[in-house]
Point group: C2
Chain length 440, copies 2
């Protein structure tokens, strides 16, 4: 079978794994997914590269040591070095051929009907190389040299513009011409599960002459996805829109925590800063663009037609169902507060990257690019409490009683996302954060 | 002599070096300075830590190998490892005691009347450890995990507000309450001498309905300084204003290249992006805060009194003379287009760092924090062509003929900065960049 055929085989909806939990219809990590991450466990505190399958992590350093992984279709065994790292950056830097080849090999090793039964038929190796997810600690999957956040949902930009500027001219003229973006703060990107402390900052109350210092009273989420740069570009050498997807390793869920009161006072004229730099949470597993391929769909029509450097033929959106759950501390169950889909995004990831680099700006392996808040066409498909409660004016009702205008201390927010296949789903795993009270 | 006395001795205006070029009154690198950088040379292409003295670089890896440097006042010899690196980050991460101690030891080794003549009296060691600056290649001194740019000159913010918003309310209400800042793009920070390619982007001409794509026609400098974080803070743990200077390793000159036409069209509502991400140039030598201590002066009076978290007793500005020179390609001499001083800055570096972290945002060793454009009280002390030519309306006349509204291809822009002592100056060395034509 040729390389393209091997890739197609990894996406075959009928392929099952001998890791039986991977075959459950609601499992985020079927054999069609095989997302990459960094983990450690009680037995071995060393951080290393893993791939999620069913309710387990496959330890790629163990497979490498066993001589079961090659770094290219025709290459020699990988050894363990590139998988015994505390980030995926060195593996990603090997290039698309290597990511694709390793994923193809893993699919073959994990398939129920496999021609390479070296792992399936070796219980001792399984004991070393298959770690229960429940006992694993998941870490930030990449070292992030740069974090950029876009603003590419037309519905979100329109909602925010209506609330804070002019409802009649909610969308600013530049918005329809380019994927508006800004530089984020990479240092405070944390992995799912990391508690997030409510920020203090300057709050300007409506009738006050001067701001006061205190804890944010309007703490919010932003439901986003992010993509991870797999191939950088040199300073001064833009990435063409048609070529941009080949620079993307994969995607994560991203919660761009936002303090709306701090933001509103600080953001003119240079954009959000302290309102967002206190934390950004991403999901621990990077779902490769290869695994998302069956869920490629057309992006929304773009009117006016973008300038040439933002044009690409074909379909460049992805059908990714998204949900947000809120669970107050001690609540027995969460409340789903939003359901939306990544396919609604007006600007594509390829257009974002082409715009980001058209000035000559360089990107590096591991760079994180956030989509911007993903809001759908209906009120309950908005990706922020700001929109869902219309700046707190229409609080949400929670299961078991209580309401929420913005996030309260002890609330746990969870983002979920998945592509629905025929009898299986390619999921991201949860992106979770609980809010701790502000420092006094 | 105690440690404080040793530090004072390094700042003694009467101290001279046996490296005689260091004793010239206009030399940027007298024995009172001793700035740190990363260099290589024709003899040895390995990047390593150096300190500038007169017209030479002292090779700290060579001194380490010779057993002449300890990493603390009472410690054992440093060996060479921390000085055989391609960035200063590992050395800086050793902490203030180590930086201070190494600078004190170097001052003693380089002093004309020295009690430690090991280098002065050893011509063979000098041949290994003293490299002529003219033959050295200077590299980016730090790996920069994060770059933040502030906007802390009242005159600059007022000028820009007058031009682009409302002359009667030029300064926005939040400006006087906090050091406004935004996240910059760390990937495109380059060292002095790196050519800078004019960016392409979206330009919205005044009467056009839609933007066009093309090379920026309003390419500009921003005269800034930057400080380098020497001690990071953990996520969720703000740096107190009174303690902030102890987190600063030192300062550089910084040119925040800006494409004004791209900026004006893109910057609402999330701030500048492609207008600035194409390049930021810094000077190669980091002047330590210790070396700047004799030039500490009072910051301008702040009215209204800042909120408590931005208050610090004492003097926190520095008297640093600054100049900008423009030299067209083939011009026999440059034209000095601006003369100003860092002491005019309204918000101090300590206030900037306290504000940056008050939300809980973490910083890391090597982070770069730009001051924002430094404009003084008079028109010819502005730090950008935007202000100097009032958005191109009043072009500058150049030596030898010609005028400039904004930067043209082939122009070389140089920033210079120094603290004037009694018979010597503590300088930064030039921060230079030449503009290459845009890609077509």
């Amino acid at each position: 079978m040729n390389a393209s055929g091997d890739l197609q085989a990894t996406l075959d909806a009928s392929r099952k794994s001998w890791v039986e939990t991977a075959n459950a219809p609601q499992c985020d990590f079927p054999i069609q997914n095989l997302p990459f991450g960094i983990f450690s466990d009680a037995r071995n505190a060393t951080r290393r590269v893993g791939v999620a399958i069913g309710d387990c992590v496959v330890d790629l350093s163990a497979l490498g040591q066993a001589g079961l992984l090659k770094l290219s279709a025709d290459g020699k065994a990988a050894g363990n070095s590139v998988f015994e790292r505390d980030s995926l950056n060195d593996f990603i830097a090997l290039g698309q051929d290597a990511w694709r080849s390793v994923r193809i090999q893993l699919s073959a090793l994990l398939a129920r009907d496999t021609a390479t039964p070296a792992l399936r038929d070796d219980p001792a190796l399984q004991a070393r190389a298959l770690i229960p997810l429940a006992g694993a600690t998941l870490h930030l999957p990449v070292e992030i040299p740069g974090y950029t956040d876009f603003y590419s949902s037309k519905e979100h930009a329109t909602n925010v513009g209506s609330m804070f500027r002019d409802p009649k001219n909610a969308l600013l003229p530049n918005w329809s011409e380019m994927p508006i973006g800004y530089n984020g703060r990479a240092s405070s990107v944390v992995v799912s599960g990391t508690p997030v402390r409510r920020p203090n900052g300057q709050l300007k109350l409506p009738d006050a002459e001067r701001p006061v210092f205190g804890a944010s009273r309007k703490l919010d989420i932003e439901l986003e996805t992010g993509f991870i740069i797999g191939r950088g570009n040199a300073l001064g050498e833009p990435v063409a829109c048609e070529d941009a997807e080949s620079h993307i390793f994969g995607m994560v869920l991203l919660n761009d925590w936002s303090a709306r009161d701090i933001q509103q006072w600080e953001y003119v004229p240079l954009g959000p800063f302290n309102a967002k730099t206190f934390a950004t949470t991403i999901s621990p597993w990077i779902v490769t663009l290869d695994a998302l391929e069956p869920f490629r769909v057309a992006q929304p029509a773009q009117e006016p037609k973008p300038l040439d450097y933002l044009c690409h033929a074909g379909e460049h959106a992805f059908d990714i169902a998204l949900e947000v759950m809120l669970r107050p501390r001690n609540a027995s169950q969460p409340t789903t507060i939003s359901r939306t889909n990544f396919r609604h995004m007006y600007w594509t990831m390829a257009q974002q990257l082409a715009h980001h680099t058209v000035s000559g700006c360089n990107t590096r392996v591991g760079d994180l690019m956030g989509s911007g808040t993903i809001s759908g066409p209906t009120g309950d498909s908005s990706g922020s409490l700001l929109e869902l409660t219309w700046n707190g004016q229409k609080p949400l009702e929670l299961h078991g009683g209580g309401t929420r205008a913005f996030i309260e201390d002890g609330d746990e927010l969870t983002l979920a996302g998945w592509c629905q296949g025929n009898g299986y789903r390619v999921g991201f795993g949860p992106c979770v954060g609980e809010i701790l009270p502000a420092h006094r």
